[in-house]
């Protein structure tokens, strides 16, 4: 098959699989939301199950909770990180890549801090892990929460790194937020997936914060 004809046919193939890849990133990020929801769903079920059973009155006998102050800080940091991402995405779409990169770095920092605080709380608990039902559930939810936050920040970090590395290549056609090169479209699909996931997780964090520190 001579190259000219091959070239001609592969064109549509390249485009076809590029669109398929964008679709795959879309469905994978939504699937991820389903997986994370069922993961935290199991923990929330355990929380309400043990709380309602309250066997031997040992769900939370003397009301000791992990420090609400640090818990609130974690939740607020995650929320702020998600809000920043939403805001700077708009500026990226307008072609101002540098604003997006700065904002994303701030969001990354807030997220990493939230994960770090969560691990810090686990090392400074003022109750024995086995002393009550609440203690067990808190010791279980802490690491899972921290892990998901830090993995999300890894995702954001790869996006930032890609935007930095492709500055020159996409500079002339309006920056990575605007250019119609396959790489830029791929980046935007991944960014859209991340934004949806991270916003969902921020809302989930509020629920978890309410259960573990307030209720």
């Amino acid at each position: 098959m001579s190259n000219a004809v091959g070239e001609n046919v592969t064109v549509d193939e390249e485009q076809y699989y590029h669109d398929a890849n964008l679709g795959a990133i879309w469905s994978a990020s939504r699937t991820l939301i389903a997986v994370v929801s069922t993961l935290f769903g199991g923990l929330v079920f355990s929380y309400f199950y043990l709380r309602s059973l309250n066997s031997h009155g040992l769900w939370d006998p003397n009301g000791i909770k992990a420090s609400p102050l640090l818990g609130t800080i974690i939740m607020v940091f995650v929320l702020a990180s998600a809000v920043i991402i939403q805001v700077v995405n708009r500026r990226l779409r307008m072609g101002i890549t540098i604003d997006w990169q700065v904002g994303a770095l701030a969001a990354l920092l807030l997220g990493v801090l939230a994960g770090a605080f969560q691990i810090w709380i686990l090392t400074r608990l003022n109750f024995m892990p086995g002393s009550s039902g609440y203690a067990g559930i808190y010791v279980a939810s802490g690491p899972v929460y921290a892990l998901v936050v830090l993995l999300s920040m890894y995702w954001l970090e790869t996006l930032i790194a890609r935007s930095v590395r492709s500055r020159r290549a996409t500079a002339q056609d309006g920056g990575i937020g605007v250019s119609n090169q396959p790489g830029a479209e791929n980046f935007r699909a991944s960014l859209d997936g991340f934004t949806v996931f991270w916003t969902y997780f921020a809302v989930l964090s509020i629920v978890i914060w309410y259960l573990l520190y307030v209720l």
Partner: protein, 301 residues
């Protein structure tokens, strides 16, 4: 369901004759099988009829079998008939081009749905009428026997033996179990370490023994005889050897046995904790120190 041109060899008449033959064979075989299951094998079906609950289960198995066997036989008849008749032969031609048939599909949906819904309803009836059908109903049972309970037996499962406490005989604890006939009995099943399961096979009683939970099951004894008690939930190394035998005896024999055991065990009964529906391992002071001494009530478990 559009079908392209049907080749000459697959005529409708031939289809109808296949259907008639299959239904014919099936009906004959199904009736014979059902008769055999209901009348010949029926009375000897497990778990027997030593209690109301066992009898209820036996009846339930009979009814389900009488409905399930024709379904089984229909699929066998259809399958073996097809294997015999619809063969490819040497020149390996293609088959009859049909992609669906609204009538048969609808009939199938309706029949399977009614069969299943009936079974669900019948199962619920068989569960409620014989007071929970011998299964464990948790601490506050919903389906209780019509006649009041005469005898309460607490079954304590521990790693790796069942023991029995008798609240009406001074709370004594024995390793053997005898039950009076024609008596409404309540089993309070609990465990003092891991999950076991009290299965009195011939009595048709089965209830999980959970730590810190009182699992209640009912049985009304109707026949004399020996019953096997087995542990039916995996509980560790000697799970396979955790069984003992009980007997259903006359009421006087039972009363004599119980009072004689009460006298004989009097000295040990004093050492037992007060009769309670559940016993928490960490309060008895015996344990492996698994939870550090920070245990708020009682020593480490």
């Amino acid at each position: 369901m559009t079908t392209s041109n049907k080749s000459s060899e697959f005529t409708a008449a031939e289809g109808r004759s296949h259907v008639k033959k299959i239904i014919g064979i099936w009906l004959v075989v199904a009736i014979i099988a059902d008769y055999f299951v209901w009348f010949v094998y029926g009375p000897h079906m497990p778990p027997g009829a030593m209690t109301d609950q066992a009898r209820g289960q036996q009846f339930d198995i009979k009814v389900i079998s009488v409905m399930a066997i024709p379904v089984l036989l229909f699929i066998w008849t259809f399958g073996f008939y097809s294997i015999a008749k619809f063969r490819g032969g040497k020149d390996r031609p293609d088959g009859y081009y049909v992609k669906g048939n609204v009538k048969t599909q609808t009939a199938w949906y309706v029949i399977t749905a009614t069969l299943v819904l009936f079974l669900a309803g019948f199962g619920t009836f068989e569960l409620i009428v014989p007071a929970g059908a011998g299964g464990g109903e948790g601490p506050s049972p919903i389906w209780t026997p019509s006649t009041p309970v005469k005898l309460v037996v607490q079954v304590i499962a521990q790693q790796w033996r069942f023991t029995y406490r008798w609240p009406q005989f001074g709370g004594m604890e024995t390793t053997s179990i005898n039950l009076p006939i024609n008596t409404e009995i309540q089993f309070d099943v609990t465990s003092i370490d891991v999950i076991h399961d009290f299965w009195a096979y011939q009595l048709g009683v089965k209830a999980d023994a959970n730590p810190d939970v009182n699992n209640v099951a009912f049985a009304k004894t109707l026949q004399y005889g020996r019953f096997t008690v087995r542990c039916d939930e995996l509980c560790g190394i000697w799970h396979g050897a955790m069984y003992n035998y009980g007997k259903v005896v006359s009421q006087t024999q039972f009363y004599n046995w119980a009072t004689q055991m009460q006298r004989q065990n009097a000295s040990v009964t004093k050492l037992l904790p007060k009769f309670a529906l559940t016993y928490t391992p960490s309060y008895t002071g015996a344990g492996g120190g698994y939870y550090p001494s920070g245990d708020p009530n009682g020593t480490a478990a």
